[in-house]
Assembly symmetry: C2
Homo-oligomer: 324 residues x 2
């Protein structure tokens, strides 16, 4: 079983075919960065058209069992999620609505302060807001997973503690390995994993040691050391693959409509676009490299299978259904 728990590609039949070549049974796909509710619905509509158009390659993923179904039928199950709470606007009733439409992960913040929590680029982190506390309860109730990948440390730790169900950092790496603002310090990873939550390792170059030059060995060694510290069962992959996107998209991701000035995020004026991917991971056909790399650094077959997909599958099974 192979699950990538974060991609935001410029979707096409080519990429859907590459998913099949790479044996990818499920992908969690971002459909909102700054979109409001109506705009997010347009993105659900776009995926409905693709599901209708490519029924032999992809299918809508709603439950863990859809991953098994996709695997059995030789398709990729597409699970949808948001990197920002903008789709629910200021309306807690939209939490259940977007879950009904198929959303399964929602970040409480995307870099900036949101109505719910503080993003990782703000100067001060005031933790979970009044509305944030209500929305966490509602997300728990309906089965919409809290994702803190782009949130600040205190907000993340508070979310992990306030949430009655496990939460996730779908795409980031440990700060001790690569001290990027988006990577996560040990106490943050501990808060998330000790409550049953998951960390998905990213191959987005800004999250890698030595960025695009990062070696496969260094990446896999980092995973093995993280497993030693927090337990293999809480780890998976969330590549953050942004395949075939033009650089205008990274600008939308960073600036949306919230600023009239450009903000370079993890990049810089001289390095404003999408960074080149590492040589060992260019697209969905390269998951074999990560799998071999994990074996090469000494992880056993069960551990490797867990990280490549079994752990996310177990997490999906426990966290996408409404609370009893």
């Amino acid at each position: 079983m192979r699950i990538d728990n974060l991609q935001y590609a410029n979707w096409s039949e080519k990429i859907f075919r590459q998913m099949r070549e790479g044996g990818v049974d499920a992908v969690h796909v971002t459909i909102a960065y700054h979109e409001n509710f109506r705009e997010t619905v347009l993105n659900f509509e776009r995926w409905n058209r693709w599901f209708e158009q490519y029924p032999d390659l992809i299918m809508k993923g709603l439950w863990a069992s859809d991953v098994d179904c996709a695997k059995a039928e030789g398709k990729t199950a597409i699970f949808l999620g948001f990197q920002n709470p903008s789709p629910i606007e200021d309306d807690i009733g939209l939490v259940e609505i977007v879950h009904t439409l198929g959303a399964r992960f929602m970040q409480l913040t995307y870099n900036n302060q949101s109505l719910l929590a503080t993003g990782c680029y703000e100067a001060e982190d005031t933790g979970i807001t009044r509305m944030g506390k209500q929305v966490i309860k509602e997300m728990n109730r309906v089965g919409l997973v809290i994702d803190m990948s782009h949130s600040a440390d205190r907000s993340t730790i508070e979310a992990a503690d306030l949430s009655q169900r496990p939460i996730a950092i779908t795409h980031a790496n440990p700060y001790v390995w690569s001290p990027a603002l988006r990577n996560k310090k040990d106490d943050v990873i501990r808060a998330v994993t000790q409550n049953g939550g998951m960390l998905g390792f990213s191959v987005y170059p800004h999250h890698l040691k030595d960025k695009s030059a990062c070696t496969l060995e260094s990446f896999c060694e980092m995973i093995a050391r993280t497993a030693d510290k927090f337990g293999t069962a809480h780890l998976g992959i969330g590549t953050d693959l942004c395949q075939d996107q033009p650089d205008s998209i990274v600008e939308w991701m960073r600036v949306g409509r919230w600023s009239k000035e450009i903000d370079y995020g993890e990049g810089s004026a001289s390095d404003a676009g999408f960074p080149p991917m590492p040589s060992w991971f260019g697209d969905n056909r390269d998951f074999d490299n990560i799998e071999s790399g994990l074996r090469a650094v000494g992880m056993n077959a069960t551990e490797v299978a867990g990280i490549m997909g079994d752990n996310w599958h177990r997490f999906y099974a426990a966290n996408f259904t409404p609370q009893r």
Copy 2:
């Protein structure tokens, strides 16, 4: 099994309890007259709150099997629908979105010309529009039933013929019995029922012979004669019960935002509000009266059971799921 295929009450715990007292296993509830997409979503949200608040009385109805489930658990399954295509705006992608959210019936028009077809109060009926033809195909594909209760004759006949799946007139009576503009002529009823469609009999006084003074015997005799003509299997109940609504609501139903002048619809300046209900049907506890009345005019047990709910149940089972 008892199904009422059209109500628009001012919902409250009182009414939910009356549904249980009346042994009503399922109700099709209108949640849009003039609402746009976002406003309709607010109405879905309102029902989500009621389902959360009254889990012992009501449950969300999505499939025919939910009626059996509700019956077994002593609840009423609430199926949601629209009396106007305003919720899909000008966006065909919203057809699947509203079906995913739970909509199961949508009128192509509400009295006036819509983007899809002509309403029954327009001077001329130009039939199904270009967009209407596309939307009928899409409604067929996803399992959203076409309802022509408030449509003009030619539009209704064209919809019945264009649709690859049976359609419905959820709430109206035969014109030959009571010649109201909203009641349906025989050729319209024939076009709908001969393709497997359904007619739901209304007890809304403007659709009754002698209006509020209509007798139970006259109503049931009319049902028996309609069964003789078109077959019992295609007939059911759609009371159009608007219990506890203030008269401001009938004004909203009639005028929405489309006119600055008042339009009295089926009423008049001197009779502008909701008309008083007939003595034998005031609320959900009165379905026994209709059932007894149908036996009294000579219908057999199977025919009566069909009209009281079995026919709608069979229709739900065939028409709410996506097309193969």
